[in-house]
């Protein structure tokens, strides 16, 4: 493939939205209240909308006849490049919103930089996504504050979720080989530069939520290289079931 780095770079961005979108979509009909149920599935739909734009572009770049659906549905686990954070399960509402919050703060900062990309398609997609993600970030950080500064039980659950998910935050700022090439070409975002402001912003919200900022320096990585936690396989099983069972089906 001629533009392999660009192709891999797009997948790296899109897979985060795809996997997180699937996770939020799992709450359809299962949210803790009608209102939060709709809110979570709205976020899911926003993310899937973004994924379509990215994969349509990736499909054009690949130029080998694979459609956006093929790219989304027919890769194997090791070929997904999402960060480990977004594949973590909906253990409870605090985990769901904690995961969303830890990703949203990164996602928003990332998209604001991607708007400046010299690749006009990517900057156009980023322009469209940035408003959606601003709302996601507001929604999830509001909930972190509510649960953190809520009852004794909600505080404990929110703290547990943040403590557990913390190990997956550092990976957001790792660069793949494709990332590095894209940064040099002015197309990609240098994520290493987002790290300090990320932790500052996250810490601010956590403090407002009367939660402890975890001090652990032990971090997990591997998602960007396709080495995933045990959760991704099950998620893909759900996501890909229809296409695997009824190849080429449409509706």
């Amino acid at each position: 493939m001629k533009n392999e780095n660009l192709y891999n770079y797009i997948l790296g961005i899109a897979d985060n939205s795809l996997i997180l979108g699937q996770r939020m979509g799992e709450l359809c009909g299962h949210g803790p209240s009608l209102e939060t149920d709709i809110a979570c599935t709205n976020i899911s739909l926003d993310l899937f909308g973004q994924v379509r734009s990215y994969f349509q572009y990736a499909s054009k770049i690949a130029g080998d006849g694979r459609s956006e659906d093929d790219i989304a549905m027919l890769r194997k686990e090791r070929e997904y490049k999402n960060v480990l954070l977004v594949e973590q399960p909906n253990t409870d509402f605090a985990y769901t919103l904690g995961r969303q919050f830890l990703f949203d703060v990164y996602h928003l900062a990332f998209l604001k930089e991607l708007q400046k990309s010299t690749d006009l398609t990517l900057s156009a997609i980023a322009n469209k996504c940035v408003k959606e993600v601003s709302y996601h970030e507001r929604f999830s950080s509001d909930w972190v504050k509510r649960l953190g500064d809520g009852t004794e039980e909600s505080k404990q659950k929110m703290q547990d979720a943040i403590n557990d998910l913390w190990a997956y935050t550092d990976e957001l700022f790792h660069q793949t080989d494709a990332d590095k090439v894209m940064v040099i070409e002015g197309i990609g975002v240098d994520v290493t530069k987002l790290k300090d402001s990320y932790y500052k912003e996250v810490s601010q919200v956590l403090e407002e939520a009367t939660l402890q900022v975890p001090e652990s320096k032990y971090f997990q990585k591997g998602g960007k290289q396709g080495i995933h936690t045990e959760h991704l396989g099950y998620l893909l099983n759900d996501l890909q079931y229809m296409q695997r069972t009824y190849p080429n089906m449409e509706w």
Partner: protein, 95 residues
């Protein structure tokens, strides 16, 4: 904190500038901020609105249906109160 304990809010959405806010339904939320966010997700997800008002339902005083006779029937035979005796220009919309 379960949704059962959250107070009920009445939601008013203005569909476009120049129109009034219309009541479109109700939902549960812990406070007015959450009510606004919930209203955004429940009632404006298909591009229905440009502005939202939320009012806690308990603050609404409603007329009693038992009093409908004395409240509303006297207006029924006063046709001259309706603006039906002159033509509205087409430019006047939303009357």
């Amino acid at each position: 904190m379960s949704a059962k304990n959250w107070p009920l809010w009445e939601i008013f959405v203005r569909s476009k500038n120049g129109l009034e806010h219309r009541h479109c339904g109700s939902l549960h939320a812990a406070d007015s901020d959450m009510a606004l966010e919930n209203a955004r997700d429940v009632y404006t997800r298909r591009n229905e609105g440009v502005s939202i008002w939320v009012v806690e339902s308990k603050h609404i005083t409603a007329s009693n249906p038992e009093n409908n006779g004395e409240l509303f029937e006297p207006a029924q035979d006063k046709v001259y109160r309706h603006p039906t005796f002159y033509d509205l220009p087409d430019e006047v919309k939303h009357m």
